[in-house]
């Protein structure tokens, strides 16, 4: 838990001033596009665009650096695993075989390299958009603006509670862990598997049960204030959608449609440079 979490930080950019929901729409369009397409041209374009937006949002490296290094590690493991399990997946997809070096099952093929390069691009196009989304969106404002797009305010309130209590529960987690360590329970990564499961249990039980108590307290307090009595409620942090919001939403949706049309125009989601 020592690794730094991504958190919101107020900055005075136009991206900051957009509604939470606008950014959510952008983020969803963006990830849907990047999930669906395997068209290298579109992925490269998206990567360039997301780097530009990343620059505009004035996100600093130290806000996201440690998380980024972790993603990189994860990505490398994943790419190696794909190669290990299926070294000729690219040949299956692109229909040609160009052996660059070696022979047999694990021969290095140009198609495989290109396929894995595309997977890497897919990762890199989504990552900046998530970074931007998290570091530029005020959690309370986000929950408030969910209600605006027709999501029930009760669901919005669940989200608000979740975002509000993550730091509290993290603090609880640390307290409980320190207390258990003080009682001599091995918490480091050196312990045996069984010991580690036991020591994890020693944290989970107090944490879960204190949280169950918290649920009771909060729901009682909300009930006393007649939460859910009316079909509508107002939000202190709500912001109206402005011109920029409509613009960004329109552009995001348009981009998704155009990108997917280009991707599927030749009947396949893959861009094939080998034929």
């Amino acid at each position: 838990m020592e690794r730094k979490l991504l958190t919101y930080e107020e900055k005075d950019t136009w991206i900051d001033k957009l509604c939470g929901v606008t950014k959510l729409v952008f983020f969803l369009c963006w990830s849907v596009t990047s999930m669906m397409t395997y068209d290298t041209r579109i992925l490269v374009l998206m990567l360039v665009l997301s780097l530009i937006i990343f620059k505009i949002s004035r996100t600093r490296w130290d806000q996201v650096g440690s998380v980024f290094k972790f993603i990189l590690l994860f990505l490398i493991i994943n790419l190696l695993a794909i190669y290990l399990f299926s070294p000729a997946e690219g040949v299956k997809i692109y229909g040609t075989e160009t052996v660059l070096a070696g022979s047999g099952r694990y021969a290095l093929r140009a198609e495989q390299l290109f396929y894995e390069f595309n997977i890497m691009l897919k990762y890199f196009t989504v990552v900046p958009s998530i970074f931007i989304f998290i570091v530029t969106t005020n959690p309370s404002e986000f929950a408030a603006s969910m209600n605006r797009v027709g999501i029930s305010y009760k669901a919005g309130y669940s989200v608000a509670i979740a975002l509000r209590y993550i730091p509290d529960i993290q603090a609880d987690f640390r307290k409980i862990r320190n207390a258990q360590m003080a009682r001599g329970i091995e918490m480091s990564k050196k312990g045996k598997l069984v010991d580690r499961i036991k020591s994890t249990t020693a944290i989970i039980f107090p944490l879960v049960f204190s949280s169950m108590g918290r649920i009771e307290t909060i729901s009682t307090a909300m009930e006393l204030r007649s939460f859910g009595k009316h079909r509508k409620r107002t939000w202190y942090m709500a912001r109206p959608l402005k011109r920029n919001d409509y613009l960004v939403i329109a552009i995001s949706v348009l981009f998704m449609i155009v990108a997917l049309t280009i991707t599927y125009m030749d009947g396949s989601r893959f861009y094939n440079p080998f034929v």
Binding site: L6, V67, S158, I161, Y165, Q170, R196, I197, I204, S219
Partner: protein, 185 residues
């Protein structure tokens, strides 16, 4: 405060549950054999919350918790693994009446029901749902994703069978038995 409505307690449970799920994202014990899979404590938490509060809370905690946890810790959201968690939460939650946890009646028979359901739900989520989504979304090699899915299934099933059952049992113990109070005539 009856059944199908989204009650205040469910609203709060979904919120706090999601926060817990996110915090526990990093509490996992890595399994060396297959990359990017681990014994996840949060799986046991999800099973427990779904069994106590039902499918709505289970679905929200699975979906939102996994998406937020991924985003906050890893800066990336793997939708193909987020959806199965939601599916799992909903499936386990659907049988909420059978476990009798809040009524203080989580005993031998209920433990058996809970475990059968969690294993079936796990199989549907991880052996079926996750690999199929991985192939559809990321076009990853079939043998790799089914391998990962199978490992995730086994890890989660074990974790929930041990820690999930214990959580349900302990929580049920501190709840008052429904039969301990009688209505005055």
């Amino acid at each position: 405060m009856k059944n199908n409505k989204f009650t205040i307690q469910q609203v709060v449970a979904a919120g706090i549950g999601t926060a817990l799920f996110v915090v526990l994202t990093e509490t996992q014990i890595p399994v060396v054999i297959v990359p990017n899979t681990a014994l996840q404590v949060r799986a046991a938490l999800l099973a427990f919350l779904s069994a106590v509060y039902g499918p709505v809370v289970g679905g929200i905690v699975g979906l939102l918790g996994h998406a937020l946890g991924d985003a906050f810790f890893y800066g990336s959201v793997w939708w193909s693994w987020v959806v199965p968690d939601a599916v799992f939460g909903i499936l386990v939650g659907l049988f909420v009446k059978q476990y009798k946890i809040r009524e203080g009646g989580f005993g031998g028979k209920e433990i058996a029901i809970f475990n059968v359901i969690q294993i079936v739900a796990n199989a549907i989520a991880w052996v079926l749902c996750a690999p199929v989504l991985d192939i559809l979304i990321y076009a990853e090699p079939a043998n790799k994703v089914f391998g990962q899915g199978a490992v995730a299934f086994i890890c989660n099933a074990i974790m929930i069978a041990v820690l999930g059952t214990l959580l349900c049992f302990a929580y049920s113990k501190i709840m008052t038995k429904t039969s301990s109070l009688q209505k005055e005539e």
